[in-house]
Symmetry: C2
Amino acid sequence: MGVTKTELFTAEQNDLAQVAKAFAHPARVAIIQYLLKANTCINGNLVQELGLAQPTISQHLKELKAIGIIQGTTEGVSVSYCINPERWEEVKNLFNNLFTLFTTPSGRDCC
Amino acid sequence: MGVTKTELFTAEQNDLAQVAKAFAHPARVAIIQYLLKANTCINGNLVQELGLAQPTISQHLKELKAIGIIQGTTEGVSVSYCINPERWEEVKNLFNNLFTLFTTPSGRDCC
DNA sequence: TTATATTATCGTAATATTGCAATATAATAA
DNA sequence: TTATTATATTGCAATATTACGATAATATAA
């Protein structure tokens, strides 16, 4: 098999899983951190920042674009990338919805 | 290849990616949500909740245990699972560190 | 036009993930 | 002891992911 049975789960569960997958590689985490810190459009230097080959980075960028976390516009010969603020907020909320579900079980230690 | 080049990235980047991987499957999201909502020890019923075979769920539980998000203790014949509060806090902070890095670029729309 | 520079896509090899049947293990009950 | 019940492990097939060389596409410069 090797194929996820998405039909068994809710849209929210599948959405969160899909987004989490975008964060599930250190190169993509690094790209996101770099764009967050720069807080502006970045072109090119990503390839020099990370130690991966250009096609590999291009592929990671494609995945991040696919889920909408980043956006890129052609700027002459190169492409400028930055965080998509609206989608970023959405993603943040997706995770926070889960994180805030937790409340410490009071007066009883669980297992 | 197919193998992630972890040596190129920081411990934090690899850690976040590893944790994100735990969230990167709807079945594991469902398990986490179920434990969060129950807010107590759950045994067994997970297999009935999700529509996956018992070995498959056992495998997902193993992965969640491996990164420390959940813990299980043997309770007679069955096993009680619950969220690990300390690790949950850590994971929450890992993500929040990233989310709070973002500040809306003021007075300039990016790309 | 022909170069040059930057990014994207294709093709492919290596490895990882998902799912489950079969089986094993562990704890209690009879 | 021998059931029974619940969970874990093994082994394997199908599919997905990661990485990169080769090459294509795109935009500007000469």
